[in-house]
Symmetry: C2
Subunit: 329 residues, 2 copies
Amino acid sequence: MKLTINEIAEMAHVAKSTVSKAINGQKGVSESNRQRILEIIQQVNFQPNVSARALAQSRTGAIGIVLPHSVTSLSGTFWATVVSAVAAEANRHNNSLMVISPQEGEKLKLETLEAIINRHSVDGLIIGAEQIQSQTIMNVLLQDIPFVFIGKNQFLDHYAVDVTNRKSALNVTEQLIARGYKKIGCIAGPENFKYIKERVQGFKDALEKAGLVSSGTAYSDYKKESAVKAASDFFEQHKDIDALFLAAGGEFVLNVMEALKSSGRDLKSIGLGVFDDNRIFDFLDCSIVAARQPIEKMAQCAANMLFEIINGNPPEKKYNCFDAEIIQH
Amino acid sequence: MKLTINEIAEMAHVAKSTVSKAINGQKGVSESNRQRILEIIQQVNFQPNVSARALAQSRTGAIGIVLPHSVTSLSGTFWATVVSAVAAEANRHNNSLMVISPQEGEKLKLETLEAIINRHSVDGLIIGAEQIQSQTIMNVLLQDIPFVFIGKNQFLDHYAVDVTNRKSALNVTEQLIARGYKKIGCIAGPENFKYIKERVQGFKDALEKAGLVSSGTAYSDYKKESAVKAASDFFEQHKDIDALFLAAGGEFVLNVMEALKSSGRDLKSIGLGVFDDNRIFDFLDCSIVAARQPIEKMAQCAANMLFEIINGNPPEKKYNCFDAEIIQH
DNA sequence: CTGAAAGCGCTTACAG
DNA sequence: CTGAAAGCGCTTACAG
């Protein structure tokens, strides 16, 4: 019942090595044999066993994606889109996609990473860059497995896809200005992250271009409490702002909104510039300008880069930046 | 450099079959040998090659999850949470999780499914039930691979996890009534889906209990245009409704909201009962009661059921229903 | 308990 | 071009 390359060889009256060559499109099979073999294969719907092939080639035909455990609300959309797009791309390359998700509240652990590598579970990794926090892990990666970062990335010297942060931030802020806002503040993620620096810079670029001055900038890490507190403090100190540029996406936006709400301000009374778009923004009674990252494109690009590396043709361009589309809500 | 079971055997001065037994916790290894072997393994951080093991055991140690290609906004959250939870559960069982995502705008194709099965890429499948639309596919599944459905499910005779639809719908509707709404309509997904029937029934239960009559029920499929149109028509015909129970989740909610908005009604002027909760609802200027599905729990349950089937102890209880939590926004 | 051997289903030199 | 053979790194009867 179980179909293997042996059965096919028998049916085609050739050696299994010949069948193998035919399947893999290699030289060394006569045209007539090739045709006959492929016909039979199609007829009986034979597919080579992935484990056997992986073992023989020492290549699994799978890539992995490392994503955050906690993907709620806004950031859920981002990751679901990435996973979908990468899965499709892997499929195009006749590969499969393995999901690697750290434990609750944790980042990728050295132990987990080493298990993946030593077991040879995947040929390469796509990594949500914020998952990497230690240099040790970075070193293990660099040494033992091909990988590319996706999104926010603090290790800019490696393969990665990202968004044109400074430019997009500038564009968003300019739209806020065009809407008539004049006292625009900024609440950002961790100050030491390069992409945060870039976005804040873009924000300032726009103000300067328009001859405005910044109404203050606050930084915070991504923990819910920290973000809410940072935002609350900011509102306390800057009661006169009429708009806000948020130099971080996903849940961060909701955290700031929460602070805004509990500070007693009406959402409606303030203009908001955010990263990452979401269809729900259409229904928020609130003036929003969003930078929509081309998530699918970015994910596809990351996957393609990874396959190039795996296949031994690493792309010369290590860092791929995409423009965000500015969406008016 | 590459570590295999042979190296370990050499280091421990035993046969590799003995090492294998030690690793897999089988009988037939002296205590002293076992200890020595395991110590060495830990020391050199040896992990058996998954492909080799898979080939030898004809068991891949991987499960697959089939999810919709298009996971935007609201439904993105649902699937991201499911994937995360299933990945964690697979990990607990020392398995990995493979993502299978149909092409743009398509459901799971027979061809794809057969490739997965014939290639022996995974030991079992978790399937977003709405991915299955043909009886043919259902038959292939039933015959060739263990699987369990997650969420909305029209094939209730197979392993599945779901939400207590009727009861949750009743609870949501009761909360709307408690808020003072009296003219409550219902917009639902496809009428022939069993879970839609159940939710609509729960909606009616609540009205009856409160001595109210339904202000109309509309059905629609899940395509964006259909849903928007169905909702628009409904609003046209029922101008006097003050609340709406939506017997479907995810994007469906946004589609109805869109229709509501373009029909000229203020979101604020209407009460909304929805399936699937979302943190963003807190910021919608709108009276919302949501049934929050315990997504993580459901996903865990599905994964555990699948592993029981794979391991040859299929659970006696095929259908696992979870209560939704009622969230007031 | 212990280990030599066969086998899982492929691929890949290699000799013909 | 063709095929017999060895090998990928494990597991699993089986004989001792």
